[in-house]
């Protein structure tokens, strides 16, 4: 059971990083970004394309993919903050669903639906704890999740850009009237989360089955993890991601539960939504 749980930790780290990105986006630019992992997937696929078609070595190709992931995300951010600046969160988020579907289709059209020869940036075991092998990918994704969460917190609380971002997220109109460059800051948040999610997908994709749909749909467990922190708290998002990964890994060890593991994120989402709505009366909740 413990071994299984630790085996799920790599996935947990990945969920946690994506959950932190989702939480930042929701807090700072009022978007639930359904295209969060799709952007990462697309950046990754382009990296593989560059390496296979143009013979670029793995590292520069990966960096190019990560930059592209950031640019794609920034472009989407620019579009939303230009034309949907005043729209509510639901409308802004709906646009990202379209982008998710667009990116999946586009990757099928451009790269086909055959598996791509990803070259691992990290591979092999990192350490063995009591007979349990922890892979390098696990170590790096878990550290990255913690690092991104801590760095985001520091930026938000200690830097002037962070203060401006918080002002924008709390009172957007007031902040803009005070001369805070709303659009520029929003696009920067989009770009940063795009870079981080492409980075983590680039680390993990070579170590798992990496078809476009399964990579793009990583947003579902990530959303379940982000929901634990109410799309506001970074620490709970990290914890949520890790716990979800551990539980999924442990569930796979038990034959009866194994099938259920892929429904876990949905179950978590439903349970958390019901819990958060528990004090609402029917009329207000529906």
């Amino acid at each position: 059971m413990l071994q299984g749980a630790l085996a799920g930790l790599a996935a947990g780290g990945l969920y946690a990083v994506l959950a932190v990105c989702l939480t930042l986006m929701s807090r700072l630019v009022r978007v639930v970004n359904f295209a969060q992992s799709a952007t990462g997937m697309f950046g990754c696929y382009v990296a593989v394309f560059l390496s296979v078609q143009f013979g670029l070595p793995t590292w520069p190709a990966t960096v190019a993919g990560i930059v592209l992931g950031g640019l794609l995300s920034a472009l989407l951010g620019w579009i939303i903050s230009t034309w949907l600046a005043e729209a509510d969160t639901g409308t802004r988020s709906a646009v990202t669903v379209a982008v998710l579907l667009l990116l999946i289709s586009l990757s099928f059209i451009l790269f086909g639906n055959k598996p791509q020869p990803f070259h691992p940036i990290l591979d092999g075991p990192a350490l063995t704890v009591g007979g349990v092998v922890i892979s390098q990918v696990t170590v790096v994704t878990v550290l990255l999740a913690a690092l991104v969460a801590v760095a985001s917190r520091l930026v938000l609380s200690r830097t002037s850009a962070g203060v401006e971002l918080r002002a924008l997220s709390e009172r957007p109109t007031t902040a803009e009237l005070l001369g805070i460059p709303a659009k520029r800051l929003s696009v920067a948040v989009w770009a940063a989360t795009g870079v981080v999610s492409t980075l983590v997908v680039s680390i993990v994709a070579p170590s798992q089955s990496n078809d476009a749909t399964s990579l793009a749909m990583l947003v579902v467990p990530a959303a379940a993890a982000a929901l634990l922190g109410g799309f506001r708290r970074l620490d709970l998002a990290v914890a949520g991601g890790l716990v979800l990964g551990l539980v999924q890994g442990a569930a796979a060890q038990v034959d009866g539960l194994s099938v259920a593991r892929y429904f876990l994120p949905f179950a978590v989402i439903v349970a958390l939504l019901l819990w958060s709505q528990r004090k609402e009366v029917w009329d207000a909740a529906r």
């Binding site: 055959k114 791509q116 798992q208």
Partner: protein, 390 residues
């Protein structure tokens, strides 16, 4: 000898020409197929290959003086679309037979309809159990179930492996068929699997926990029935765990150039019984005609295109022997009564025959992918066959 052959050909041509003239039907012979051309998992090559064979036949005068009109319809991996495609070809276009179909679900959906309509289907690549258990469908390929028996036989008998485990990805009602394939292996060898896990999901993103479970169970070799991305995920999960001495006994479903390129660490080797003579053996005389035709038409060299090519070739062989009009009735009769056809691309002769089920192809050619090579190599110099049991 050559002269005799030429005389025979002239006699045959004259006879068939006369037969065509007597029946008075000069329109095209409609042949169809139902394929996964779009959707999540696509196999477009089988019907492309069949079309290339028919185009070549048409260019050299057609069959009994008539052209073949080949219709390859898309089932999109969707049951409703598969049913509609079959009805369009069989009911609407009045096809005489189905040739070279390759789809994940088509047999399951259309088997009964084909029985009602008294039409026969020579699938290029049969996948689901109904392809191998229906009186009206006889796939050209070995199929995943015999393939699994062969893979296990090769592992235990040729490689001498012990402690073999199975991780099965079960879609729909395929579990009993895989179980039967494993039981077949046990009956032949008297050996048992160390461990079987039939809960492995299709399209799962991270297979680490299944790999950890298998490793803890003491498996030294693993047989899996994966599609390419899943298998890549499983091999990489094993690699990340530092499990590099495990042997993989996989199925033709992973036999592609892409897969070989994507795998850098294949543990103690990936072994696959290729359902047709291995296409990666470039200079082989067995594949020469197929390779030339595919290259000329720009069709990918894969097992799927081998299946489509063979289905069309067998079909032409049988139809050319029909004296009289080529109709659905005469084609069905000819296929039911045909003599087995041998081809160097397969280890078992093809025959449709009158059977209630058709699962006759029982030979695979063992091939191997070693760590770091990124290419498939022949692992044997002859076909591996499932021994007949009494």
């Amino acid at each position: 000898m050559r002269r005799l052959g030429a005389v025979a050909a002239v006699v045959l041509l004259t006879a068939t020409g006369c037969a065509g003239a007597e029946s008075g039907s000069g329109g095209p012979i409609v042949v169809g197929s139902v394929n996964a051309l779009s959707g999540a998992a696509t196999f477009p090559e089988a019907s492309q290959a069949a079309k290339a064979v028919f185009d070549a036949a048409n260019a050299s005068g057609g069959v009994n003086g008539r052209q073949i009109e080949y219709k390859a319809l898309d089932d999109k991996g969707d049951p409703a679309a598969a049913a509609a495609a079959a009805r369009e070809i069989v009911g609407g276009d009045e096809a005489v037979a189905l040739v070279g179909s390759s789809s994940l679900i088509e047999c399951e959906i259309n088997a009964e309809y084909y029985e009602q309509q008294k039409i026969l289907s020579m699938s290029g690549i049969g996948v689901d159990p109904a392809c191998f258990s229906s009186p009206n469908i006889a796939p050209v390929n070995v199929g995943p179930y015999h393939d699994m028996t062969l893979s296990l036989l090769y592992g235990s008998e040729e490689l001498g492996l012990t402690d073999i485990c199975a991780l099965l990805e079960i879609a729909g009602n395929t579990l009993p068929s895989y179980q039967a394939a494993i039981d077949e292996w046990s009956a032949i060898t008297g050996k048992k699997l160390k461990y079987l896990d039939a809960t492995v999901p299709y399209g799962g993103s991270d297979y680490t926990s299944y790999i950890v479970k298998a490793r803890n169970a003491g498996c030294k070799a693993i047989t899996v029935n994966p599609v390419e991305p899943d298998s890549i995920g499983q091999l990489k999960a094993a690699q990340a765990q530092g499990w590099t001495d495990v042997t993989w006994l996989l199925l033709t479903s992973v036999y592609s150039e892409n897969y070989a390129k994507a795998i850098s660490n294949a543990g103690a080797g990936v072994y696959v019984p290729a359902e047709f003579y291995p296409f990666t053996d470039a200079g082989s005389p067995q594949n020469k005609d197929w390779r030339e035709l595919m290259t000329k038409n720009g069709i990918p060299l894969t097992s799927f295109s081998q299946g489509g090519y063979l289905a069309a070739k067998y079909f032409l062989d049988v139809v050319r022997g029909i004296s009289g009009d080529v109709t659905r009735e005469s084609v069905t009769k000819a296929l039911r009564e045909m003599r087995p056809i041998s081809d160097p691309m397969v280890g078992t002769p093809y025959v449709f025959g009158p059977g209630e089920t058709h699962h006759g192809n029982t030979a695979g050619w063992p091939i191997k992918l070693s760590s770091g090579t990124n290419r498939w190599e022949l692992a044997a110099d002859d076909w591996l066959r499932i021994p007949a049991r009494n």
